[in-house]
């Protein structure tokens, strides 16, 4: 098969996923290399192009995928622009999560994404989902080792740990899982018709959005974690366990592991 034939064989949905996925990675690299203005400008252009494409494109299989992908520049624009004045880092997540949750809710409504497609409403096997959630503990350690982030709370005050847990579950894990494994992976499955393709789209998008962490090792850990979470959602049809795993990953990396191993 020649090069032109191979290009024709690629489905439009796959071309959309790869093309806009690469543009997302470029926008994140622009943020790292060029600073706030360059990063925000690239994300704003990507957002407008995605929504204009959605507006003018004929109704095709990848139509909803454009809206799912548009959530990603919205996430970054919101996180760059929400005014944060002298409030703790964990509280920032509350301020950033609310507009992102609004965007995700509107995307679900406008694209009529079924709960089943987002890993909601499936039969819930509590024991298995708890086992899935426990995966977040070693992943949190791996993420902390790869990034060594600054601690977000001072010491191990039980009240602060409980507050961190609440923020970790509601405003980090639920919001990020609904956006990436719920909406994005759901519309990617609808567009590509392939579980491997859908998991790849959500995992690479998640890893791309981790680029501003500044650590290639951390990006790799996030790529692996996102692929694992995506695969679990595809197999079990439920977001419950991966929300737990994501919360344990975040709280472990930001609160628990720095307190236990911070001096090493």
């Amino acid at each position: 098969m020649g090069g032109l034939d191979r290009m024709r064989a690629v489905s439009p949905a796959a071309a959309v996923a790869v093309g806009y996925g690469a543009a997302l990675a470029v926008a994140e690299l622009a943020l790292v290399q060029g600073g706030l203005l360059a990063g925000a400008a690239c994300h704003a252009v990507l957002l407008i192009v995605l929504l204009a494409h959605h507006l003018v494109a004929p109704v095709t299989a990848y139509h909803s995928l454009l809206v799912g992908l548009a959530l990603l520049p919205i996430v970054r624009l919101v996180s760059l622009t929400v005014p944060i004045l002298g409030i703790p880092y964990l509280a920032w997540h509350v301020m950033v999560a609310i507009p992102i949750a609004v965007a995700a809710g509107l995307a679900i409504r406008s694209e009529q994404i079924e709960p089943r497609l987002m890993g909601l409403g499936a039969r819930f096997d509590a024991v298995f989902q708890l086992a899935v959630a426990a995966v977040g503990i070693p992943l949190g350690l791996l993420a902390w080792l790869a990034l060594r982030p600054r601690p977000v709370i001072s010491g191990v005050d039980p009240v602060q740990v409980v507050l961190a847990g609440i923020v970790g579950v509601l405003f980090i894990a639920v919001v990020e899982e609904v956006v990436f494994r719920g909406v994005l992976q759901g519309v990617a499955l609808r567009a590509l018709g392939s579980s491997v393709g859908a998991v790849s789209v959500s995992a690479f998008a998640y890893a791309s959005m981790s680029i501003p962490s500044g650590s290639p090792g951390f990006v790799l850990v996030m790529l692996g974690a996102a692929a694992l979470f995506g695969w679990i959602v595809e197999v079990t049809g439920s977001l419950g366990g991966v929300i737990g795993a994501h919360a344990l990953l975040a709280v472990g990396m930001l609160v628990v592991w720095p307190a236990i191993l911070g001096g090493l």
Binding site: A40, A41, L55, A70, L71, L80, L85, P99, E176, L254
Partner: protein, 81 residues
Amino acid sequence: MTVTIPELVRSAAESFTLDFRSTTASLVAIIALVLLLTVREIARARGGRHRTERLDTLGVAVWPLLLVFGVTVVTRMLELL
């Protein structure tokens, strides 16, 4: 850190003043918001039936950006008082 607020964004928020962020990232977001609202009005006026039906999708970006814009304006006003 997390995908929503990675290390670079955290450092930027801590290092730069609200003034600086308002005249860089926030300004870009406001321009994007104005462009999206303009596209919405043009599509509503001349877009035909199928494009008008799709205008709801623009709300996915418009409402969160409006929310952030509102919070930014209130914060700046509180700073001035």
